[in-house]
C-alpha cells in the first residue's frame, strides 16, 4: 500500500476491525482515516466501523482501575493554565 493509496469501501470494511483496534500499520491506518473522513459516499464503512468500535469500547469497560498519583490532577490543572472555575475558551 502506498502512502496515498485510496481505499475502496470494500477494502475499508475489511480493515475496519483492525482499524478500530489501532492494530493497523501506519500506511493502512492513514489510508483508513482518510477514507472515513474524506469520502462522501460509503457502502457499509461507517456501520462496520461503528460495530468494531462498539466492541473496542466494550473492552474498555473491563479494564481494572489503577490509582493515579495524587499530584496528577494538579499537573493537569497546571497544564491547562487555569484554576477551578476558569474557562476553557482559550483552547477553542
Amino acid at each position: 500500500m502506498t502512502h496515498r493509496h485510496q481505499l475502496t469501501c470494500s477494502q475499508f470494511v475489511d480493515l475496519a476491525d483492525a482499524f478500530a483496534l489501532n492494530a493497523l500499520d501506519e500506511l493502512e491506518e492513514h489510508a483508513c482515516a482518510r477514507h472515513i473522513v474524506r469520502s462522501i459516499h460509503h457502502a457499509g464503512c461507517r456501520e462496520a466501523l461503528a460495530a468494531a468500535r462498539g466492541v473496542v469500547d466494550q473492552l474498555s469497560t473491563a479494564l481494572p482501575g489503577g490509582t493515579p498519583p495524587a499530584a496528577l490532577w494538579s499537573a493537569i490543572e497546571a497544564r491547562l493554565g487555569i484554576g477551578t472555575g476558569s474557562s476553557n475558551a482559550e483552547w477553542l
Binding site: N22, A23, P69, R79, I82
Partner: protein, 221 residues
Amino acid sequence: MASLALGAPLPLSFGAPNIEGCLAKFVAAVPTGPTDRARDRELLERVARGDVAALRTIYEQHASRAITIAYRILRNREEAEDVVQETFLEVWRRSAQFDPGRGGAVAWVVTIARSRAIDRLRARNIAGRTIASAADETVGLLPVPPPSPAAETQRRRDEQRVAAALGTLPAAQRRTIELAYFEGLSQSEIAVKTASPLGTVKMRVKLGMAKLAELLGDENT
C-alpha cells in the same frame, strides 16, 4: 521500566495530534445506559462551558482506567501519567464534540488514552523491545482503593461480561485480540510476537472481533 517514582515533576510535552486520526477515532463508540449517557452529556456540556469541576468529576470517574490502559501499553509510569494528562487536556478541548449517542464518557476517555499511548509507543520506535518484554512482565499499578459499592458492582459486571465473551474465543483469537487491545500491538507486531503469518493474525482479528460483536452486541444497541 524507566521509573516508578510517584509525584515527580511531570514532563510538559504535548505532542501534535494527528488530525485525521483524531477525527476518525471519534466516528463511533458504544452507548452506555441511558442514565449514564445523560449524566455524561451533562458533565461534558459543563466542561464545554469551562467548568473545571465537571472535568475533575470525569477525571475522578475515569482516570483510573485511563492510566491502566496507558501503563499496560507503555510499561512506564511517567509516560502513562503524561498520557493521562494529555487525555484530559483533550477532553477539555474537545468536550463539545462528545456525542452521547455514540458512547459513554468512559469509552471516550479510554479511547483517547489508548490512542495517545499507542501513538507514543510507535513514535519512540521501541516496539521490538516492548514485544520482547511484554510477555513476562508483570504489570503493577498501585493498589486500587475501595470504590463505591455500586461502582464496583457495575465494574465487576462489565469485567465479567467481557471476560466471558473473550473466554468463548479460541485461544489464538483471544490472545490476538488481547495483544492488540491491551498491549497496543499492531497486527504485524503480533505476527512477530506469536510467530504466526500476518494473514493468520488478520483472520484471527476479524473472526475474534466478529464473535465479540455477536456476544456483546446487546450492549451496543
